[in-house]
């Protein structure tokens, strides 16, 4: 899932400065389950912003809305006509949601309340960790199911570097496990550690962000064109 967290209230206030009527729109999918932009969080942020701006002497009326998924047109279409009375929309969706709203309602100023952080999942209650960078050329087959592009600070494909601590932590942060230490342990457990002797060749980053914005087209799923015969 996409994992995000809220921008600090101070930053959001600054973004909304000068406005009087704002609609905060949450999303019922990824950001709801990481508790950054679901219905509950919309209520809390709207409440906090109303109070904060009132105390500043520049009350902003913040209304609250929620859609099932902000990244899909079918769920945001229902907002048509509802946005005119607002000076801005504060999207509490991930970056995809913010942009989908903005693309669909180009006459409305859409502002991001969240910082979208990564693709990952909950590893324990209240903790979410990054697991995938979307490199477009998955190499999990070679590393026992642990992604070095995401989980190694240096994206090593033939790791580890010399900085692993004695208890298997990354040199960058003692709380972060060394991905290659974990890969080695995992592959030992699977009895395939000899595979690590192969020198993994340089990655083709063109399938990643480096190659430019990516798109997937599925001809089998697109809406077929009817041939009128005209």
């Amino acid at each position: 899932m996409i994992v995000a967290d809220q921008k600090p209230i101070k930053e959001i206030k600054k973004m909304l400065q000068g406005r009087q009527n704002v609609l905060a729109i949450g999303c019922g999918t990824c950001v709801a389950v990481c508790f950054a932009g679901g219905k509950r969080e919309v209520g809390m942020l709207a409440s906090a912003l109303r109070m904060a701006t009132e105390l500043d002497g520049e009350l902003i009326q913040v209304d609250e809305a929620i859609v099932q998924r902000q990244c899909e047109k079918e769920f945001i279409e229902q907002l048509a006509g509802e946005l005119d009375g607002y000076d801005a929309v504060l999207s509490m969706g991930c970056g995809v949601g913010v942009q989908t709203l903005a693309d669909h309602y180009p006459e409305t100023r859409v502002l991001p309340a969240l910082n979208t952080k990564f693709m990952g999942g909950p590893t324990q209650q209240g903790v979410w960790e990054e697991r995938c960078q979307g490199c477009g050329d998955c190499m999990l087959e070679y590393t026992g199911g642990i992604c070095p592009i995401t989980r190694c600070a240096k994206q090593l494909m033939n790791g580890p570097c010399g900085g692993t601590s004695e208890d298997g932590r990354c040199e960058v942060d003692p709380d972060t496990p060394c991905a290659w230490f974990d890969i080695w342990e995992r592959m030992e457990k699977l009895e395939i550690q000899d595979e690590l002797m192969q020198v993994r060749p340089p990655k083709d980053w063109s399938t990643s962000r480096d190659g430019g914005r990516r798109k997937i087209v599925r001809k089998d799923l697109q809406k077929p064109e009817l041939d009128d015969g005209s």
């Binding site: 240096k154 494909m157 033939n158 900085g163 004695e166 960058v172 020198v199 060749p201 990655k203």
Partner: protein
């Protein structure tokens, strides 16, 4: 082009005919040192450091934005070192350059006659003075080693295109940290670097001779030393405090208690007010220990030389090299 001619005329098995390579090929115990470039464009800093190392080492490493702190570039400093008549080993990290910049820099270095290049992953930028920088890591050090070998031996760029006029003569180096976790993996990793194409290895600082002996035995058994030369990292300690700091903070640093005890014993009896005398006594013991360790390393099978890292203490190189019976260094060998 001079380099191309040299390549054709090279002795069988020689890759670049650098001074370091020639000494290793001749079976003599090699000595390399290290120069940290300045955080400025002041070339005189390089010249001063060269003066302390010249004649005592076969080649001197130049670090590449070490610890993520911006310093004069390794290649530029390497050229200055060459101009002083000392052979450089330039270091190239994977942190700051993509494969285009790497190949471009390699060609540039070779154009200036630089042959020894050490491939490193690079310390993470969060340690340095530009922690918000984007890190590159287009290739990792293993892939860099292989890429350099292919440029040299197959006259090929990484993309497969031919390097017209032939590839650069390179003596390819890599680093090893024998005691970093996971320890069981390290000899295998050394072998992998040999397979990738490394010609020589410089290890992290070694203070634990027993553990290093075990490591080298595994390396020899794996056949690693048949295709590359291992230079053990050594460094004179300045004091017990420094030793303890390194043990606690540097990954893979294994410093036995008896070494720390000796460093502490060195200042026993000297008043804590007499800082100068304490420092002199500490340093003298540090140099003594370093010399002893080099003597032990000479006896370990597979160790082809030492890489002396006298951190901010280049003046220590001379007494260490002399004391270990490694002076004078061989002249240019044919």
């Amino acid at each position: 082009m001079v380099d191309v001619m040299m390549k054709d005329g090279m002795k069988a098995g020689m890759k670049a005919y650098s001074q370091l390579e020639r000494i290793l090929a001749s079976g003599q115990f090699a000595v390399t040192g290290e120069i940290g470039p300045p955080k400025s464009h002041d070339a005189s800093v390089i010249r001063d450091k060269c003066a302390l190392l010249k004649g005592f080492v076969d080649a001197a490493n130049v670090t590449d934005n070490q610890t993520g702190i911006v310093r004069m570039s390794s290649i530029a400093a390497g050229i200055l070192i060459s101009n002083e008549g000392l052979e450089p080993v330039i270091q190239m990290t994977c942190r700051d350059r993509n494969r285009l910049a790497m190949q471009s820099d390699i060609l540039g270095a070779a154009a200036h006659g630089i042959k020894n290049i050490l491939c490193l992953s690079g310390d993470h930028q969060s340690f340095g003075n530009h922690p918000g920088a984007k890190n590159v890591h287009d290739l990792d050090s293993m892939q860099l080693i292989r890429m350099m070998r292919e440029m040299r031996d197959n006259n090929q760029f990484q993309c497969g295109e031919e390097i017209k006029g032939g590839g650069p003569p390179l003596f390819i180096g890599a680093a090893a940290n024998p005691f970093a976790a996971p320890v069981a993996l390290r000899p295998m990793r050394l072998k992998k670097k040999a397979i990738a194409g490394a010609d020589f290895i410089q290890t992290q600082l070694i203070y634990d001779m027993d553990r290093f002996r075990e490591y080298m035995k595994k390396a020899v058994d794996l056949g690693v030393t048949e295709s590359l030369s291992v230079l053990a990292g050594v460094g004179p300690l300045k004091g017990a405090g420094m030793a303890r700091y390194m043990r606690n903070n540097v990954p893979g640093m294994s410093i036995p208690d008896h070494i720390i005890d000796r460093m502490e014993a060195a200042v026993k009896g000297i008043s804590s007010d007499d800082k100068k005398a304490r420092m002199e006594a500490s340093r003298a013991e540090g140099i003594r220990i370093c010399i002893e360790q080099i003597e032990e390393l000479k006896e370990i099978e597979g160790v082809a030389g030492v890489h002396i890292m006298a951190i901010e203490w280049e003046a220590a190189v001379e007494p260490v090299v002399r004391g270990a019976g490694l002076y004078p260094r061989p002249e240019g060998i044919s």
